[in-house]
Symmetry: C2
Subunit: 487 residues, 2 copies
């Protein structure tokens, strides 16, 4: 096979690789699921270096167009959803107080109603349960620890767990001082403490749009204001928009997920992540990164937290085990180099320490290697589930439905055709014993009325497949009135 590659002088070399793969795909030379040429063979064919091909492949992988399988190579993704991703919303240029509580309460209630399929909750752990290994570990810890297992642990966290976390960060090349790390009650408490470290009631916090509703609720609860920065489904935060906002508004802090955002599933390119940190530090604005999904990146190389690029130590990384191991253990952490003393004081005042036995169990779970094994399997399962669910939504939903192609994590973001209302769909779905998360709760300014979030974090089953079918039928019903009007 010979490949014709149009070269432009200004073009990065690796862009040629990307163009070539896309060309082969569009021409049907590469079929979904088919293996890509090896790095070496393509390098030879294009007369470029192996690292250049690698760079091109990694970028395609980040964009979800191809995926890596360990020790095997790169494969064309089964689902190519990039171009049908939900559109960027037009956002207001005002900071707004957050008010969507009643709907959020109903979403949570639906999730915990027996007999209702919980597609509305972001709970990827269910896809590949670590329950048995964790239970075994906890039994062992109870035997070892005796009386100590029920005692108060240190306020800032169980030292061995802090060490294990620091070692993990070191594995991806990010040195973290355990003394700058505080164990919290999940990432939510970490975010609560982080916000209180850097901002006060009345302050404006820049958030992603769409934004995880738990963050919006937190900002409201602390009497702060949210300012929405639009997300690009591929690249995450639009740096130009952010830059313009920083110029025009007094932003006290940002809460972003630079690795995998929730609900949209974007992954910032490493270069953008560096630029983001530099931009914020030039304005002296602290970045709080909600990093709960970075262990679930579908790229071969795990995303490096923005923390690693900070010069001024103004990045606070918040994360947890809730999306990767044990949501119900409620153990998270924060890395807050500049604000550590304040963070420790606030943690102590808010809830003293976190559950010692849960910390201890998770510490052993990492140390034994079980955590990493579990996360790897979970990632593989989630990738398969994602592709299945995208395919299923494509098949069952009305034309012009737009679907995200998440780069990791466990949720899809879906935009219904114009004229439809996702809150309406939420209620109709609940009647059918299916919970979804309507888009309205992901914005303080009532954007995303046509969008909703569903989880592919349940084990794939006929029930899930049937639920997608039912949701699709409900979505078809939603467009009938307008059809009737035009017909």
């Amino acid at each position: 096979m010979a490949f014709a590659v149009a070269r432009e002088k200004s073009e990065f070399l690796y862009q040629q690789v990307i163009n070539l793969v896309r060309q082969m795909r569009d021409q049907g030379l590469l079929q979904p699921g088919q293996k890509l040429p090896s790095l070496r063979s393509l390098a030879t064919k294009l007369s470029v270096s192996v690292p250049t091909v690698k760079q091109g492949y990694e970028e395609l992988e980040r964009l979800g167009e191809i995926s890596a399988r360990p020790k095997s190579g790169y494969y064309l993704s089964v689902v190519q959803a990039t171009n049908s991703a939900p559109r960027r919303a037009r956002l207001s240029n005002k900071a707004v107080p957050v008010k969507r509580q009643s709907l959020i309460e109903q979403v949570y209630e639906a999730i915990h109603t027996p007999g209702v399929l919980p597609l509305g909750i972001a709970n990827p752990v269910a896809a590949h349960s670590s329950e048995k290994t964790l239970a075994r570990t906890m039994r062992r810890v109870m035997n070892q620890a005796g009386q100590t297992a029920i005692n108060y642990g240190p306020m800032d966290g169980f030292a061995p767990l802090k060490r294990q976390l620091a070692l993990r960060y070191l594995d991806f090349g990010v040195p973290v001082d355990p003394a700058e790390l505080v164990i919290t009650n999940g990432a939510q408490e970490a975010l609560a403490i982080a916000l209180q470290c850097v901002a006060e009631p009345g302050d404006i916090i820049a958030v992603e749009s769409p934004c995880y509703f738990g963050i919006l609720e937190l900002i409201e609860s602390l009497g702060m204001m949210a300012f929405e920065i639009p997300l690009c489904p591929d690249d995450g935060i639009w740096l130009d928009d952010l830059s313009a906002t920083l110029e025009q508004q007094t932003i006290k802090a940002c809460i972003f997920s630079t690795a995998i955002s929730n609900p949209i599933g974007s992954l910032m390119p490493e270069d953008n992540r560096k630029k983001l940190v530099a931009l914020l530090e030039s304005y002296n604005v602290p970045l709080i990164e909600d990093d709960v999904y970075s262990d679930l990146c579908f790229t071969e190389k795990r995303a490096i937290p923005a923390q690693a690029y900070s010069q001024k130590k103004q990045v606070i990384t918040c994360a947890s085990f809730s999306k990767t191991a044990a949501p119900g253990y409620r153990i998270g952490w924060m890395i807050a180099p500049k604000y550590i003393e304040k963070a420790k004081r606030i943690k102590r005042a808010l809830s003293c320490s976190s559950s010692l036995i849960n910390q201890w169990t998770l510490s052993e779970f990492i140390a034994s290697g079980d955590y990493e094994r579990n996360v790897q399997q979970l990632r593989r399962t989630l990738m398969i589930n994602r592709d299945r669910m995208i395919a299923s939504v494509k098949q069952e939903f009305p034309p012009n439905t737009r679907i995200s192609c998440p780069r990791g994590g466990g949720v899809l973001w879906i935009e219904l055709p114009s004229g439809q209302d996702a809150v309406d769909l939420f209620y109709k779905a609940l009647n059918e014993k299916i919970s979804i998360a309507p888009g309205a709760i992901f914005s303080p300014s009532n954007k995303y009325s046509r969008c909703f979030r569903i989880s592919y974090g349940l084990p794939w089953s006929d029930e899930v497949e049937k639920a997608i079918k039912t949701l699709g039928q409900l979505a078809y019903q939603g467009i009938e009135p307008s059809r009737a009007r035009t017909g």
Copy 2:
């Protein structure tokens, strides 16, 4: 034996019973540890009714002068410390911002330093460990729950635990609607949520003086101000002082422990508790009650939470399992009838839900009766430890050392003779590998410099006894310079 009782017309009948017992004691007719006359025999002798004698005995019990042994009767307390309780501090009449953090940090650090005897922490659970029963229960729960054990629980708490708690309250005659109850990460998070339900930054919160330093830290962390109301070692909050304060200051809310206060161990008489609630409701001031110790009252009848007397539903009860079963599980709760919707929202925003497996285990622990059995044994052990420690302090410390006689809980509050500094003692004790909690951290206005708190919640041992001896020697050293001056 014949008893001569001086009757005064205005005197309550039960006061005669009290006077008689004290007279017998002072005359040596009743020895410490000796059994008191039965209710019936004393009623006959005094020509009063059995309930009147019972009322007098209960009052003496509340005051710590006698104690009840189930199915046996009443006994003269071994230690009669009432009259040597630390004195009421002269308090400023200004609200003050709270600042004692560095010392608090050192106290916590000392507690968690290996090899240091943790007398500085209030951890009564250690006296009679429930660890084995809890471990067995947790194993059973893991077997039953499977995958569910690691999942997210409902935001406001695991329903069976809420039901078990409501049933327990019903046992002491307090009806609690589980829907008005939220499970939290320990009582500390409950207090944090409660404060945010009723007050805002800048508001003044009335606290007990001396006050548990965790509450002072919380008030500071939320940007509020603390106003100290003096405690009577016997009767708790002085209602006259509180009434005057309410007249003069804009108090936004109160945080009191009407059952057992920390560190002083006072127990408000039931009548005062009723008056307290009525007084606060007449000023429309919400009461947050820190009720973590009420299951550890040394009176035969468990203290009823102030919640029970509320007409306006403005009392928020905060409690936990940390002082009675498993501090390290970090499970507490709050009852907030009037503020329940706000409380649920704040809990969700602060930390989502609490550890499901820990909640589940505690729920089974109550349902099986193990909790109540454990608490009863713990109370007995703590009473014995208290008396031992008071006796030991009396023997080892300089004359004019004043000692509290706690009505429950697990800590003693000790006032050194004049001229001494308890922070100094804290550092000297730490050199000897003993941690204590210096009085300075229990007041935002640097009161109680001569006081310190020690726990009798460790199993009684030679090590504990030796530590008291060492502390006593250090206290003697502290007074030597002034002796030298006067000598």
